[in-house]
């Protein structure tokens, strides 16, 4: 609630400033103009949003599937960890801003290269905390499972994987937060559709309010994804979110 009040106060001050100063609307559009653009350009915004949302969701999906598979492999095989983990860190020092235009040059203006860029960027924050959680299991718990006669696969299934799920959710939330940035960056490098391209196009056309409207749409979507993930975690992992208080004797 206080966050909402601060946001409203900020928007109010912004509106007031644009009215009192004689800045041109294309330099700094007032929030009311952005709201008007949201309504008037909704067809255009929706069309471009669909493209960006697809890039983000598919990229996140790919990052999640590959991330979980690779995390499991790295956890189970020390050899894989020695061989692959340094390469994985290597992918993170690729200056993606520079490589993005090359990807577009190779693969064209379609969704493919955007999806790849989102996946590469989102993959790392999923792998790192999850692998960390898998490696940090109480050794006594592993001892217990071994004396119960559990196989390596059963240890993973009954003890390690569930205890790493909260970390996987944390990673997924981080990934969502940067997926929007990655998608827009990919679109800046060359695309035919998408909110990033709309922003890039609107500014030279002096349709600044529309650029802001596109940003609002993207922010709202990211926030919704983030909130959705948090709600899903609460529902699926109640034991990890808020340990219920019980009788103490």
């Amino acid at each position: 609630m206080p966050a909402l009040l601060i946001a409203l106060a900020f928007l109010g001050a912004w509106e007031l400033y644009t009215v009192l100063s004689d800045l041109d609307e294309f330099v700094l559009p007032p929030p009311s103009a952005v709201a008007r653009s949201l309504a008037e350009d909704r067809g255009l915004l929706a069309e471009n949003f669909a493209t960006t949302a697809l890039e983000m969701l598919a990229g996140l999906g790919v990052a999640l599937v590959l991330g979980v598979a690779l995390t499991t492999l790295l956890h189970l095989s020390a050899r894989a960890r020695r061989g692959v983990y340094p390469l994985l860190i290597g992918t993170q020092v690729i200056p993606i801003v520079l490589v993005a235009p090359l990807l577009v040059a190779w693969f064209g203006f379609g969704t493919g290269p955007k999806l790849a860029i989102v996946a590469v960027v989102c993959f790392f924050p999923i792998v790192v905390p999850t692998l960390d959680a898998l490696e940090r299991i109480d050794p006594d718990r592993l001892k217990l499972l071994r004396t119960l006669g559990a196989s390596r696969w059963q240890v993973l299934r009954f003890a390690e994987a569930p205890s790493a799920l909260p970390a996987l959710f944390t990673g997924a939330r981080l990934a969502v937060a940067i997926a929007a940035i990655a998608a827009v960056l990919a679109e800046y490098s060359g695309s035919e559709k998408g909110l990033g391209r709309l922003v890039l196009q609107s500014i030279p056309q002096l349709e600044t309010a529309r650029a802001y409207a596109a940003i609002v749409v993207l922010m709202t979507f990211t926030l919704a994804l983030y909130t959705g993930l948090t709600a899903l975690e609460r529902r699926l992992l109640p034991w990890a979110v808020a340990p219920p208080k019980g009788p103490s004797a």
Binding site: D140, T147, L148, A150, S151, Q154, F158, S163, S248
Partner: protein, 229 residues
């Protein structure tokens, strides 16, 4: 079961020529100060570690670790049933088999409760249920009451004494509490500080149930404590 067993971690000698026997159905308590290699001994019996010297034999042993190690995401019933799940039973079958034991252990009504909402004593009972369901002939209890407060501890001790009496499994009970050993065990093995050596093996023929206030219990406790000095 243990014959002349020694074990070293690198340069640290944890156990030195330890021999001990437990007859089927016997409760053997291993007492000693911190760092006497008690936990190492249980690791050896459970087959988690191969001794540097000597021989360990006996049946399959299941460990009940110091802290209960219940899985926080699983219900009381599923935690107990874990021992059956790893034997390849389906979730449904495992629950059906674990359920009567939980009821017998006084946990009826808490089957669907997660560990965080159970009291320390109840968690310990779930851990005992899991240990019993593993079906191993030898149970290794590592400081089973270490995490409990004094009152819960006394209750759980009395309860475990009667539960052990009924199951007739071979039990190795590691503790630093000599009184606990006297109340629960048929034989008390006293270990020295590191490197752990057997200082005394005291038979405990006292009739059950044993009260801590019983003069015979107190006398045996004094004898065990005397052996440590």
């Amino acid at each position: 079961m243990l014959e002349d067993v020694s074990h070293a971690y690198g340069a640290v000698q944890a156990l030195e020529r330890v021999s001990l026997r437990a007859a089927p159905g016997e409760v053997v308590a291993i007492v000693g100060p911190s760092g006497c290699g008690k936990s190492t001994l249980l690791d050896l019996v459970c087959g988690l570690t191969v001794p540097s010297g000597g021989r360990v034999d006996g049946g399959r042993a299941v460990l009940m670790p110091q802290r209960d190690q219940l899985l926080p995401w699983a219900t009381a019933l599923d935690n107990a049933a874990l021992a059956l799940r790893v034997q390849g039973l389906s979730a449904k079958e495992a629950r059906a088999q674990a359920h009567p034991l939980l009821q017998e252990l006084g946990l009826a009504g808490f089957e669907r409760t997660r560990p965080a909402a159970l009291s320390g004593g109840m968690r310990q009972r779930v851990a005992v249920a899991r240990t019993l369901l593993a079906g191993a002939p030898v149970l290794c209890l590592d400081e089973p009451f270490g995490a409990l407060d004094a009152i819960t501890r006394a209750d759980t001790q009395a309860w475990l004494a009667s539960a052990l009496l009924r199951t007739r499994r071979t039990v190795l009970l590691v503790t630093h509490d000599v009184e606990e050993a006297v109340v629960l065990a048929d034989t008390i093995v006293v270990l020295s500080p590191r490197p752990g050596r057997v200082l005394a093996t005291l038979p405990n023929p006292l009739p059950r149930p044993r009260a801590t206030t019983d003069p015979d219990v107190q006398a045996l406790r004094a004898e065990a404590l005397g052996a440590m000095r």
